[in-house]
Symmetry: C2
Subunit: 527 residues, 2 copies
Amino acid sequence: MSRRELFRMIGATAGGAAMFQAMSSLGFNAESPYNGPIELQGTPKGASVLILGAGIAGMTAAYELRNAGYKVQVLEYNNRAGGRNWSLRGGDSYTELGGFTQKCEFDKDLYINPGPWRIPYHHRGLLSYCKRLGVPLEAFVQVNYNAYLHSSQAFGGKPQRYREIKADYQGHVAELLAKATRQNALDDSVSKEDREKLLESLRGWGALDRDFSYGPSEASSDRRGYEKEPGGGLSARPIPSKPIGLSDVLDSGLWQGIPNGDTFDMQTALFQPVGGMGRIGEAFGRELGPLIRYSAKVIDIHQDQHGVTATYEDRLAPGTTLKASADWCLCTIPLPVLAQIPMNVGPALSAAISSVPYASAIKVGLQFKRRFWEEDDHIYGGISYTDLPITNIGYPNTGYHSSGKGVLLGAYIWGLNAMEFTAMTPQQRVQKVLEYGSQIHPQYPKEFDNGVAVAWHRSPFTMGCYGMWSADARAKHYDDLCRIDGRIALAGEHASFLGGWQEGAVTSSLDAIGRLHQLALAQGGKA
Amino acid sequence: MSRRELFRMIGATAGGAAMFQAMSSLGFNAESPYNGPIELQGTPKGASVLILGAGIAGMTAAYELRNAGYKVQVLEYNNRAGGRNWSLRGGDSYTELGGFTQKCEFDKDLYINPGPWRIPYHHRGLLSYCKRLGVPLEAFVQVNYNAYLHSSQAFGGKPQRYREIKADYQGHVAELLAKATRQNALDDSVSKEDREKLLESLRGWGALDRDFSYGPSEASSDRRGYEKEPGGGLSARPIPSKPIGLSDVLDSGLWQGIPNGDTFDMQTALFQPVGGMGRIGEAFGRELGPLIRYSAKVIDIHQDQHGVTATYEDRLAPGTTLKASADWCLCTIPLPVLAQIPMNVGPALSAAISSVPYASAIKVGLQFKRRFWEEDDHIYGGISYTDLPITNIGYPNTGYHSSGKGVLLGAYIWGLNAMEFTAMTPQQRVQKVLEYGSQIHPQYPKEFDNGVAVAWHRSPFTMGCYGMWSADARAKHYDDLCRIDGRIALAGEHASFLGGWQEGAVTSSLDAIGRLHQLALAQGGKA
């Protein structure tokens, strides 16, 4: 009996409170979409599954189905495993739709992740594969208090430190609420007993003075930073700094950047694989070895009552058409690509496949001659945010203090801006990103070395970054997308409520193969 | 001309605004206590300095003075370099005052740092030595949203997740302030123009609904966590969780733990050396090599018009008394120890030495048979806080997902509780810490392997954890402690406004040797 089943039983027999207590006593009270290693027992002898796509979803399935005794074959468009789980390193080259080829010229050990770049602690499925495959992890820094929040319209375009905006917003909020509370304006919401506790909490949390005001002080400087920091020896006394007024903070819009690390997906602990996100896909690829056929471009998927056959071109021998067949098929091909491949499924699944537009995101990696963000700006890892089209600048969360060159994420571009950048050549994108970034780091022009720009709408293997379900489309089509159609099941982040996250790929894959396995069991072997 | 001098000049001639702009354009507008590598030029030929203590302050001085051409000798009580910069590893043994010897039985690569364990990004002096000495750094996780806040008096003693308390406090604060704002209770503090911006900001920041209320919702669950987390495939829909009411949050006192990572010293980025904090002291020790005489217990310090002589016992040859002399002396011996060593300095310095009590802190490291905090509780790094005497539980910020045994910091005990624990045997301390910790992690009794407990008041080389200046003592004695008395200068965290921090040791040391150097120059060589 699984833990989940146990809880269900306790819940049914003893009620919710008992269930909550039982769950708590086992150390967790939120139900995770990942319930530990999948158990697929009784696999019919000789049963086979054809898997389309060697991304995280496809390889999760291949790994588990192989272990369960299925005959497994994976077809992969690229000449590498991983799909969007991918690190671009020096020496790599990448050709996008439209024909532009970029050769990455980063120094040894430097990389960017054009796709996913962080793993939240609660993405237990993906983490469990990191553990089982021996992929070492290190901390991903989402929030860096010394990184910048930048608005081209505020503070004369001068970037502010995150710590300053956060401390000042929090301080002003605390001061205002303390004022309203002391003026009895909230007496119908805050009981008399709570009132003093609330005030005490606001003083500490907001770094207020004894009189509940927020201003230049030791307390506020201990949040936002000092005019002169404390030191050692003579003339070591600190000098407090002066907070920014509420009106200026509100007017700047920079407060939007404050709760960034509070959201469930961006909370600590966050991880990145040592050496780049692509290490996961590479490890899966090594593990699966010859089960994956690379450079295989699927051009047709056909099922009948006996099985599923995929027709594919060998990209290394243009014009060569091959076929692969199996009893069942798990298809993880991203929807914009899949929509262009003939496949005989029912109208519900067909409609679902066409109902999900993909994000147009772009990532740009820039190599600089030195890690000036550490040396000059004292920013070690984390992210600066701006209202410019580049959206953010991500500093490397590894190799701190390294001498030599350094690579940062120069842009993570979204929406209409991304459309505009997609229309440019890669070189133009890099150039434009340099121009924007110089407003935050004036060192850019002098220190720039080289760059790469991945526009996901031009990615031949995905034609987009990830599925963006509208609420409407979700309500109409999501279940149809996930339901098995004959002998074909779909999986991937697009078949999840974790759009754009690798955990969506893992959990949708496990969910799909669990149901495929049930079907296979019901049929008792080969059709 | 140093940057600091440049700024002073600009400030004097063109005023504060121009200076601010000049500083900003160079990427920093807070004056750091560390101004780049110290420049000691024109060292008189043959000039010598005797340094007492091979901790961070002493070795910083030894490194710089040696490089500047001084003859340097360091006397160190322990048989290792580093002082409180120290990692206890398997195989190490430690004898405290009172005679108890502990043999550390941790597995290979596991350790605790009995002294400092984190380095803030703005501790530029210490960071620069890490860089120059080639000590690699990794992220120290201060705030882990999935770690616990625990009160033995609240929620039936059940630990809460940090994310829950933070989200709910923030949500309730935002809801209350939105209410007061909309009821016009703050019209004399918030202008009409700011009003709408404030409300908009509160909605986003506090995860409020459209009607500015905080309750169970997608938005609040995206902060505090879900009842059922979103997943992939069928039946993957998330279920929101239910926030804790304001009264319960306030009553619990757990809100005190919220701003922990907001304070200047605990903000990201924070670091730890790979392999333990002791790696810095070890690297310094290797760099200085034979300049350090180990196992040397100073028992007398005497100065005259020609120089300074320290008398010391060789701890490896009890009864053997030796002498070391130099033109000048930098004494970094912690004040409780120094106060017991005869030294002919003036009454002002003597009084200062006696004016600073030392913290009684205790750290306890526990080895467990497995990393259950990761496997069961999904806590990777960071700190849980409790109102129990153990104060906090620090999870290792390295080796995530390692199989085999794991070591965590089981307690960081303060004040009166520390006094009580200091009176126990090390074994009793470990036992007591296990009992307390079991209230937070019921896995403790089953998984415990072994432990070590360092009570700093029983440390023979410091007799306390660090100097705790009262405001009164600071006003009366701090400058006297830092001023050079004849040929003797003091340095260490106790001679800084960064009490307990290694950066205090570094900056006080640089400040002291800068002034010693000026004196030596003024004298033009040997006396």
